[in-house]
């Protein structure tokens, strides 16, 4: 199998979800990576450690314009005769993978969470993570958009060859007036550890204890929808059916009741810890560990214990 993996390196680094996509591809077949951006040749060669044989880099693409990116991926796919094209189902993947699928007439399995089965079907998320479907692709080649954090990455020691790749990208479809980078070090969709809080926290002035716990863990912060709606927290932190869907290794939820729409965005988490004063809160049914208690007392205590653990190690 000839596999092409698209990764976005525009902001100068290789995201974890990109490494996941490369390693996923390498388990299917000989993997070529196509990427954009200003990242150095040496860092690109390191993609060999997660399974890439070759990295094609295009330095003309200056934005995440879906039309141009799709043209680039299509040209690369044709040049290596790819039968499988892998994207991470991140914000760029969501915009570009469907375009590439339609342009190449290659069926798209979107939201994949596992490698293709021996019969070729691919397991994907459906119903906002409340179920899985097995997708069969009926076309000669296929596009797979991989859910971030669904498969792990293990780095080996290989190196990849790096080649410049040019293609006719056509005109950009839009001009970028401004880029507002999100503050904070850990991006929620990629985070392995997440501390989240809901209306039980009573007001935005109380978020210090949530941030302290997140800091002690090295976790990202998240919130329930009403909290973002009232403006206590920024919208990009809202998780759930209508917010961000996340799959961290650990999700700690304090003062969140656990409505089904909230669960839809977080029930892919490996371990869920729920802190709630109400022992009847529905969230406990979805929890691995539960603490019936007041978040205002529990969160600082938990942060202190985590710091103790970190100090020992």
């Amino acid at each position: 199998m000839s596999v092409l993996v698209y990764i976005d390196t525009l902001n100068g680094k290789i995201a974890k979800s990109a490494m996941e996509a490369v390693q996923y591809g390498s388990k299917i077949g000989t993997t070529t990576v196509i990427t954009n951006g200003s990242i150095g040749e040496r860092s690109l060669a390191e993609l060999g450690a997660v399974g890439a044989s070759k990295v094609l880099v295009n330095r003309d693409l200056a934005s995440d314009d879906a039309a141009q990116t799709a043209r680039l991926v299509k040209a690369a796919a044709e040049s290596i005769n790819a039968d499988t094209i892998v994207f991470s189902q991140d914000l760029t993947g969501k915009a570009v993978a469907p375009r590439v699928s339609a342009a190449l007439k290659a069926g798209l399995a979107s939201g994949a969470i596992a490698l293709p089965d021996s019969d070729g079907t691919i397991k994907v998320n459906v119903f906002s993570g409340k179920a899985f479907g097995k997708v069969k692709v009926n076309t000669a080649s296929r596009v797979i958009a991989l859910t971030p954090n669904a498969v792990g990455v293990e780095a080996g020691s290989g190196t990849a060859t790096v080649e410049e790749f040019s293609a006719d990208l056509g005109n950009s479809s839009y001009t970028i007036k401004e880029v507002k980078k999100q503050e904070g070090d850990i991006l929620l969709p990629e985070a392995e550890l997440v501390v989240s809080a809901g209306r039980g926290l009573k007001g935005p002035e109380n978020w210090g204890i949530v941030e302290d716990l997140a800091k002690s863990l090295g976790a990202a912060t998240a919130c329930s929808r009403p909290v973002a709606d009232i403006g206590w927290r920024p919208h990009h932190e809202h998780v759930g059916q209508t917010g961000v869907a996340i799959r961290p290794n650990l999700y700690i939820a304090a003062g969140i009741s656990g409505a089904i729409q909230h669960l839809a965005g977080v029930n892919g988490s490996k371990v869920i810890v729920v802190i709630n004063t109400d022992p009847e809160a529905p969230f406990f049914k979805a929890a691995d560990y539960g603490i019936v208690g007041d978040a205002f007392e529990v969160l600082p205590k938990l942060a202190a214990e985590i710091q103790k653990l970190k100090a020992q190690n």
Partner: protein
């Protein structure tokens, strides 16, 4: 401006999800259908606001059977001028996109709106495919949008932040949270919706590229282990040594 809004139906967000026929079909019994929230709250309402500002028409399009009509009437009640239903069970995303693109080719819209994703299949596929089939720009995950004299300024989500872009119509845009506020249809809207045109058109032949073979539910969660609120040392120990996540 001529605006087209892609409307899909989805199970109510509180629906119980399970499957029948050897796990090959979604069990619809007792399921209430709603307008897919992204399509209704964000795409449709922003389209209506633009029409109110600059004039024009808002048409909705749905690929689906007659069972989708109540959901389409809801979109009309909220304020769309007219609706089109392509009379076919929506197949895969490509089939759906192909139908929408064919209709759009024949009718020339300034902006085509989709929702961010359907909450049942969550593909985020249809919008990008429509754009590719029409060879138009695709603006994915817009959180706000202003249009003046056929020039749009859009805030869109990007990896690690927000980007402000400018482009000319025509284009395809997918609407995410922030684009608009939900509108509750009033009695007048509901009455008017009954008589607004809902045109049913025949589908165009198109092969499906993917199919769903089976479905499964996630394994049942094992019982929640309770830890005393006074004993956070125990919780940390469990997370470190038992769950091995920290």
């Amino acid at each position: 401006m001529k605006l087209l809004v892609c409307i899909s139906k989805s199970p109510d967000t509180t629906s119980k999800i399970d499957f029948t026929d050897n796990n090959t079909k979604f069990n619809e019994s007792g399921v209430q259908y709603i307008v897919n929230p992204y399509d209704e709250w964000y795409a449709l309402v922003r389209a209506l606001e633009l029409k109110e500002q600059t004039g024009g028409t808002v048409t909705t399009i749905t690929v689906g059977g007659a069972a989708d009509d109540p959901v389409i009437r809801k979109a009309l009640a909220i304020g769309a001028d007219n609706a089109v239903r392509v009379d076919a069970e929506a197949g895969d995303a490509y089939y759906t996109a192909f139908q929408i693109a064919e209709y759009a080719k024949a009718n020339q819209f300034d902006i085509i709106f989709t929702g961010k994703e359907t909450i049942n299949y969550n593909g985020s596929q249809v919008g990008g495919m429509v754009a590719e089939l029409l060879d138009q720009p695709f603006v994915s995950l817009a959180t706000s949008m202003e249009v003046n004299n056929n020039v749009a300024v859009i805030n869109k989500e990007m990896v690690g932040g927000v980007e402000v872009i400018e482009l000319n119509t025509p284009f395809v845009v997918s609407a995410a949270k922030g684009m608009a506020e939900q509108r509750i249809p009033n009695m007048r809207g509901i009455m008017a919706a009954r008589t607004k045109p809902l045109e049913v058109v025949a589908p165009v032949a198109c092969d499906q590229m993917v199919s769903f073979e089976t479905y499964e539910l996630p394994p049942a969660k094992s019982d929640c282990k309770y830890v005393d609120a006074e004993n956070m040392a125990e919780l940390v120990d469990l997370l470190h040594n038992e769950a091995k996540v920290i």
